[in-house]
Symmetry: C2
Subunit: 133 residues, 2 copies
Amino acid sequence: MEATINFIGIVHSPLKSLEDCPKQENEQAPEAIIEIYPKFLDGIKNIEAGSEMILLTWFHLSDRSELVCHPRDNPSAPLRGVFSTRSSNRPNPIGMHLVKILSVEENGFIKISNLEALDQTPVIDIKPVLKYI
Amino acid sequence: MEATINFIGIVHSPLKSLEDCPKQENEQAPEAIIEIYPKFLDGIKNIEAGSEMILLTWFHLSDRSELVCHPRDNPSAPLRGVFSTRSSNRPNPIGMHLVKILSVEENGFIKISNLEALDQTPVIDIKPVLKYI
């Protein structure tokens, strides 16, 4: 009833504490660098500057026991099940981010726009945008 | 450099073998039932029939060593890095599906439209659609 996630890279960001992090990437989140580890470099072939992609991260500081939450940490908002929210506190704390690729270096350093994830957050996948949303 | 994914549920689908599965959910994929396990039921509060959501699954039969692939298994297509494709063969075989919720039962059985994942595929997360895509 479980599986192992292997981290493929790591986030480098000016966001050094959770208090610094905006709740969504469209709320003035800063640029960040995604470092892809050498053994996974073949996988980023064809990722091109200028494109939009979905980045999946692992919110390693999350509370994985939480099943309900107050949206946006607002205690006066009614409790909701976490699967109807984007809370990072959830059983599998996967972050899903729509990002624009700004540049891709041969050493696996990818500069992206607008990422609300903390510095040192593990990266677990990159995918094309679901075009038909 | 790794973490543990806990399965929160399982897919029940008429798709019983990989050969039966369409490559994308908009290619005549059938309806499916998502069974959420009892210990995670509080998390699906507020998931409502009629809404669209992102379902994340774990493609448990994937080849996790693959870093490049021929798109759509077409051997004449040039090899691409897996992170610029939706191939299920990738280091962390997370399936990302845009689904419509058709009904939600109190026992945690959620009927959804159009899922290309195989019967018995583990479910790992459900999230709201990224509204601003």
